[in-house]
Symmetry: C3
Subunit: 253 residues, 3 copies
Amino acid sequence: MITLASDFGTPYPAAMKGVLLSRTDTQLVDVAHDFPRQDVRTAAFWLREVLPYFPPAVHLVVVDPGVGTDRDALVIRAGDHALVGPDNGVLYPAATRLSEGNEIDVYTVDIEDPESVTFHGRDVFAPAAARIDEVGIGRIGTVEEFRPTHEYVDLRFPDPDVGEDAARGEILVIDGFGNAITNIPGSVLENRFGCEVEVSGTRAPAARTYAAVDIGEALVTVGSHDNVELAANQERGDEAFDVEVGDAVELRW
Amino acid sequence: MITLASDFGTPYPAAMKGVLLSRTDTQLVDVAHDFPRQDVRTAAFWLREVLPYFPPAVHLVVVDPGVGTDRDALVIRAGDHALVGPDNGVLYPAATRLSEGNEIDVYTVDIEDPESVTFHGRDVFAPAAARIDEVGIGRIGTVEEFRPTHEYVDLRFPDPDVGEDAARGEILVIDGFGNAITNIPGSVLENRFGCEVEVSGTRAPAARTYAAVDIGEALVTVGSHDNVELAANQERGDEAFDVEVGDAVELRW
Amino acid sequence: MITLASDFGTPYPAAMKGVLLSRTDTQLVDVAHDFPRQDVRTAAFWLREVLPYFPPAVHLVVVDPGVGTDRDALVIRAGDHALVGPDNGVLYPAATRLSEGNEIDVYTVDIEDPESVTFHGRDVFAPAAARIDEVGIGRIGTVEEFRPTHEYVDLRFPDPDVGEDAARGEILVIDGFGNAITNIPGSVLENRFGCEVEVSGTRAPAARTYAAVDIGEALVTVGSHDNVELAANQERGDEAFDVEVGDAVELRW
């Protein structure tokens, strides 16, 4: 199985699928092709959250503002999974999550003279993913074009600062519903559902479900990623709390 | 075969696919993941129109404004098909269409302590769909976690009022092209193509095809759902007729 | 394998998939369903660029402003591939590219009384595509409903005018990143990377990669289609150069 994720919209992913299907008849599964353009950080977050739900697979990821520069193409073996994409950190958070604390093996892809310098998704990453599918994830180390490396971009999300009566963190991403997802662990709300908390100075109810508050009302909840989310019932949490990605958040109870 | 439909956008559907593919290697087919957010009625309409074209399949549907409340999770057997989703009416019109007048069997899904309270698509509905795929649609009744029920939301679209020289109905949905789809049966236009009809006081030609009128001109036609549609050649019918979903429509000839 | 491309958005493509999967269990691959509405030319361009990356397949294409008129439904055999869609030119550039200079065989599809006159994608083209999948691309000529023809719309993109110190062409399409793709061959920039060129009177650097210029800066590059593209590093080239589809472009060096 090969999953595909990119910021390409359409129809560029179809060219990658054509390349893959010319070399393998494995199942292809789209993760997303509408990641915010060239936003490595947001893509890295979503891949970390979504890929662990898949069975062992090769994950082809192309969010690549540096395409055509001398940034490396990477292959990472993480547990039973493999990831392929540019060396800009986009693979790293998912790889560490998929490896479940074990070491990851990282390789640079040595493909000379790709057909284009602006579409490595089609000309470098897709062929590399098909190659892994061919040899098997457990035998990545045997592929001659993959060279072991210890130098790569290890994008990390900031750790929250959780205290006794407050937690400080930041907005990592905002999803399509407008939920503002923080890096603060949901566990801080345990035993506080039904109470009000203070979010950067404003009071809002902590609730397990959106529907626990009136339509349009703001709430603080625990999202499906186990992180604290700023939300609003059937409306946008980012607007209700007036926050953007990267904003600092202080939760006080 | 399992089809997927939701209002999730991306990348949440990918987490559902990961869960499904961890449990079954059946074919997955996307119906749509851009249904208007939390608009149960519009999703219900489209599913009723689209799902009958599929061969027997399990249809996983998540448009779920009440996620995490005590609304039930439903499994419905309708003819050779099965539907899985929240008990808010979204499955009902498709189920009655798929059962072709036969009874439907409805079950509540008894899954205790799902991983999250905000993402039942991943944690409740996808596992239930995989379970049906495993046992077979004909043997839904044997699954212990599915409890037969006769209480569920039976969302129904309003019936039109068709008379001798007029029909009254409403706009059910507006599609991406701007065609305003009514609940008035297309048969009322039979023998009237080429003539003008009156739509809530405005006159417009009745035509079999968009191209029968000049580009930009309004027309009344019969859509692919056999309903009367308010359209405009290569432009938006909803704008040409100034209508919105839920508006009353009177057709007079 | 059957690929699908349209300007339908969702959920109409799902009805086509249902029809296909009711008749064949071959693999379905989406190329794009968000081609600009009823823009035959743009769809024709993308199909020409993307479909050649696929292994032999049936390509179902529906961008069809003339649906329901007497425009023909076409089947084209081009090399090892087959294309199905309306006779408005949308298939032609891809067919000539896929046939690699060999002749193409063109047929009209003779399907009487389709279920609808407004959704031939579902009622005419999908059944025709499934029929080809059933008999095999090499045996298209044996299908009774397919009638050989030599009359069809042969949409052609304009040829550029390449001289010794200048090239004149036009903007063919603008992609989702804002890259303005011309019909001028990338070879004119050979040996000029690192230099400035003049684009319709404005000077801009010719560069192999977006990242060769500062973020936001305009550049002239060679895209993944081997055509000259007007781009901007991490921003939109169409805005940087103030161009639209169809605009004339003069490149001078």
